[in-house]
């Protein structure tokens, strides 16, 4: 399997009054044409890892890495202008909440079309045709009508499908999905995931799926990285998640209430300070 993305010893640092805060500490992994899940609690650095790959960390934040390469080509040394060509066209990112990531005063169709025309020189007519086809691909029934709608007129699930359409239309090689379904209902969640899964598979893309939901990740991804305090503590094939060895992963799994196994008290995670000091596992 060819490596789409290679990350070696990635650090994200934020200088503060009390010294430097390390949000991500020496994370290494590689991504092929697969679905890689990154799980962890809030503050574990999973979103920062996703942002650092696109070099979206704003100063004073600092990104450092021994290697950050897209299909063998270095990303660290690129200028902002060159990075703009990578973002969207090569690597795209789906954010958590469509309510905050769509432009509220621009019609949905125009926004998707803009994403396409930024990267490809095509006529408006052709771009519109492509946009409508893309809306259909994300299972929107009446693309002509949705094309003319404003973001406040669509539901959460539809908004997230519009985001997916917008991110996929430039045909990127890698998609980073940062909690794409946590703002959605359980029943809509599955639907959005299925659409994403199908499109990623059909196009042979690599997917980085960032989530706090262990069960969701284990059922949806091929491989899982578990992050704690800015480090990767364990890496596993997704179907073996329930055989995890690391006490942190075990603790997370045990703290979930279960319908099929009722208990009087839930197990509470006891944090071991040693976990934060361990070396990062490469995945």
């Amino acid at each position: 399997m060819s490596k789409l993305l290679e990350v070696e010893n990635l650090w994200v640092k934020f200088p503060t009054r009390n010294g430097v805060f390390d949000a991500v500490r020496g994370v290494s992994f590689s991504l092929g044409q697969e679905r890689l899940g990154i799980v962890g609690e809030s503050g574990s650095g999973k979103s920062m890892t996703g942002r650092a790959i696109l070099r979206l960390i704003r100063p004073p934040g600092i990104v450092e890495a021994d290697k950050l390469a897209l299909e063998g080509e270095d990303l660290m040394g690129r200028s902002e202008k060159e990075m703009r060509k990578v973002r969207g066209q090569q690597i795209s990112m789906i954010m958590q909440d469509p309510k905050f990531s769509l432009n509220p005063v621009m019609r949905v169709g125009k926004q998707i079309m803009e994403a396409y025309r930024l990267h490809y020189k095509v006529s408006k007519k052709e771009a519109k045709k492509k946009t409508l086809a893309m809306l259909e691909a994300v299972a929107i029934r009446d693309p002509e009508r949705v094309y003319r709608m404003f973001p406040h007129e669509v539901s959460g699930g539809m908004g997230q499908r519009i985001m997916i359409a917008m991110m996929l239309i430039p045909d990127p090689k890698i998609m980073i999905a940062d909690e794409p379904t946590s703002a959605l209902d359980v029943s809509v969640q599955m639907q959005v995931l299925e659409i994403m899964d199908k499109l990623v598979k059909d196009r042979g893309m690599g997917l980085i799926f960032i989530s706090h939901d262990l069960n969701l990740v284990s059922s949806f991804c091929d491989r899982v990285l578990i992050m704690y305090a800015g480090r990767v503590v364990e890496t596993l094939p997704a179907d073996k998640l329930h055989e995890a060895q690391h006490p942190y992963t075990r603790g997370l799994l045990n703290s979930l209430p279960r319908l099929d196994a009722p208990r009087d008290r839930l197990e509470v995670l006891k944090r071991d300070p040693a976990w934060a000091k361990e070396e990062s596992v490469s995945g």
Partner: protein
């Protein structure tokens, strides 16, 4: 005597052609000391029922009895002494410029308590926060600690009924476990009655004895937790919810 008794509750917003019926003919009863869960998708009207009980949804019809007495409009101080609510998002429901001490002492003095100092220490102790948290501001607390403060505030007037609106959906799973344990302990200690709203069937199944499933403003099925675990349901929507929830749990 039942803690909460609701019959034929309708709640609507807007008038004439803009009228939206958020809750249609809901019936439910929670025995004193019991715990009852409402599940359903967003927009199914589950939070609206809680808001109607609290007097936060002004247009409603039907019957709402609390501890055997019909509610008054506007709600009396005695009502708020008996019924308190914990909201979904601890980041939004605490005043950003009030310290924990101010939040709790305001509630206590509104309800006419005199030994405020002692009660604040007791409340913080009840929810598992030490005295060191007393003079902190919300931004100095983590999400789980904030939700503990919100629960302490709800407990301040010594209520008999707690309405819980998705109390853990904004929290991490490890913190969720701590808060759910805390809620279980508090119910046993203070003999509270819970009415809880959640979209997570596993959470509701952990806390509640009886569960009502809502869809499009109507309660489509009410069942006991044992029946739910054994998949003894009659309504297809309940079945669908249970299957998708068990599927994601099994991985």
């Amino acid at each position: 005597m039942n803690g909460i008794e609701i019959e034929g509750l309708n709640v609507w917003f807007g008038d004439y052609e803009e009228r939206v019926d958020a809750v249609k003919g809901a019936n439910l009863s929670v025995p004193k000391g019991g715990s009852f869960g409402l599940v359903g998708e967003s927009g199914s009207g589950k939070s609206t029922i809680l808001r109607a009980i609290m007097g936060l949804a002004p247009t409603w019809s039907g019957k709402i009895d609390i501890l055997g007495k019909p509610v008054e409009t506007p709600r009396s101080r005695d009502f708020y002494r008996a019924v308190q609510m914990v909201f979904q998002d601890p980041y939004a429901s605490l005043h950003p410029r009030h310290s924990v001490d101010q939040v709790l002492s305001e509630t206590l003095s509104l309800h006419g308590f005199s030994d405020i100092d002692k009660r604040i220490s007791q409340l913080l102790d009840d929810v598992g926060l030490g005295p060191s948290f007393r003079f902190r501001y919300p931004h100095q607390l983590s999400g789980g600690q904030r939700q503990r403060v919100a629960i302490a505030r709800a407990l301040a007037p010594e209520p008999q009924i707690l309405l819980l609106d998705e109390p853990t959906s904004a929290l991490d799973v490890s913190v969720q476990a701590e808060i759910l344990n805390l809620l279980t302990d508090l119910r046993a200690e203070h003999k509270l009655t819970y009415l809880m709203v959640s979209h997570d069937l596993a959470v509701v199944g952990h806390i509640c004895q009886d569960i009502a499933v809502m869809q499009l403003g109507e309660i489509v099925e009410t069942l006991g937790v044992e029946d739910m675990r054994a998949m003894r349901t009659t309504h297809p929507y309940t079945k669908h919810l249970l299957e998708s929830s068990l599927q994601s749990a099994a991985g």
